[in-house]
Amino acid sequence: MRPLPALAVAGFRRWSAYRMATVAGALTNSVFGLLRAAITVAAVGAAGGVIAGYSAREVATYSWLTQALMTVMVLGIWDELAVRVRTGDIAVDLARPVDLQLSWLAADLGRAAFVLLPRGLPPLAVGALTTGLALAPSAWSYLLGALSVLLGVVISFAIRFAVNLSAFWLMDVRGALTLHMVVSGVLSGFIVPVAWFPPWLGTLASATPFPSMLQTPVDVLSGRVTGAAAAQVVALQALWAVATLGVGRLVLARATRRLVVQGG
């Protein structure tokens, strides 16, 4: 198991090399957080003070937490693996004596560990200073929240991994990647809280792993779910993490059966 921790450390160090990009990104997250908080707070105000259990302060907290976690969960487009499939470099990866999925997962966890604080704390600090934050009151919620964030990253990675592997079948994966970005952006609760969804969209979301990727960590950290209920949603996350990783392995198995490597 030695190579996996090494890959995680490499993932961390690779991302920490771009300091300016990190500062710029944190500022951008904060600006978007200010806009999102203003818009959602105005919506709650116009609706009479509460929407689906969210007060103004709570929905502002939701806005800040989602901004803080969006880079960790990679809600934009991620195509590193797809590029390696298209260029054929994936053949080199497959020849390595480490599991392909787990080695990419290790590197992604390293990446997430690096971006968590520099990209997460500035928006939360701006939020605390401007709108105030309604965070969970007990230490237990933060411990469980940390586990929940970790599981969220695993789910996010597992889905991105599977979507990227579509490059084995598609000439051009941009469409698939954009579709994934749109679906995960909405269903994960990144655009608006899942509790705000109209019933049909809520039902659709709850049948997918996406709410477990972002909404659940945000709910646990903000104390929206506590105690046994919190343990339950985190357990559901763990199930989704196993399921999505499993689907990724199935896709990978089919893909490698298709793959023809020439030369040597």
């Binding site: 500062v23 710029a24 951008t28 600006v31 105005a42 919506a43 116009a46 689906a52 051009d172 469409g175």
Partner: protein, 270 residues
């Protein structure tokens, strides 16, 4: 003396080649177009869900808020179509593409702008046009000739303002290099801020996204005039008539910043 080809001939040739290239792979283009419809819907979901819970937003009626959303998205998607690729300037800097532009006897910015045109962005424009068609009849009660002109002009001025923001953001890359994401605060952040009534923002943010980043001019201020509503503190609705002027001003500043950036730029040679 023989007739010289017109000054714009190189640009039409460049653009023509880009248009041709995009339509060469039909299936890929259709997929990209659909993906952009998806992005348009992604933008729409937030305001749609919010309006299922409240019938007003930022002192505007639901149809008024949708009008703001539609105008901002039409303007932004058209700007993204025409000049959105200047976002890739850091890649061009790294790959030396910009140096190639500098070797040709044409202005680098004009070449950069005409080096691509992303027709796929029309997918997002389409979503916004549908929202506009649905919202306008309810939002605008009395039509006057001036309002017709304003409604027709707003997507154009909006696109001009967002294009200027894209160019300014690109020019900032000459200084920021790795800090490309900061520029997103102005372009994508501006587009996001523009999609909602600026009255939802607190005064400092409202001033920032009106007078520093002129996002409110692309949709909210013209929309106030269309629905005949006074603006919030700091933003009287008559400002909406100044939109064409603001678009010209934004381009003037963008060109100055671009020129300063180009002066600062030194190629890596090779």
């Amino acid at each position: 003396m023989a007739d010289l080809p017109p000054a714009w001939a190189p640009y039409t040739a460049l653009l023509g080649s880009r248009l041709h290239a995009q339509t060469a792979y039909r299936a890929g283009f259709v997929m990209d177009l659909f993906a952009n419809v998806g992005i348009g819907l992604l933008e729409f979901v937030e305001i749609y869900v919010i309006l299922t819970h409240t019938s007003t937003l930022g002192a505007m009626s639901a149809s008024g808020a949708l009008l703001v959303f539609a105008l901002a998205n039409i303007g932004f998607s058209l700007a993204d179509l025409a000049v959105g690729h200047v976002d890739n300037l850091p890649t061009y800097l790294r790959a030396g593409t910009l140096d190639t532009f500098l070797l040709r006897p044409l202005p680098a910015l004009a070449q950069l702008v005409t080096s691509d045109v992303a027709l796929k962005r029309l997918g997002r424009t389409g979503v916004a046009l549908i929202v506009l068609a649905v919202a306008t009849p309810t939002a605008v009660a009395h039509w006057t000739p001036a309002k017709v002109v304003l409604l027709a002009l707003t997507p154009v001025t909006g696109a001009a303002i967002f294009s200027a923001l894209f160019v300014m953001a690109a020019a900032m890359q000459f200084w920021l290099v790795d800090g490309g994401e900061l520029a997103n605060s102005f372009t994508y952040g501006g587009s996001y801020a523009a999609s909602y009534p600026a009255s939802v923002l607190h005064l400092p943010l409202r001033v920032l996204f009106t007078f520093v980043v002129p996002a409110a001019f692309t949709a909210y201020l013209p929309a106030l005039l269309l629905v005949e509503q006074p603006g919030p503190a700091g933003l009287p609705s008559w400002l909406g008539w100044l939109t064409p002027l603001v678009a010209v001003l934004a381009w003037g500043i963008a060109l100055l910043v671009w020129r300063a950036g180009m002066r600062r730029y030194t190629g890596a040679g090779g």
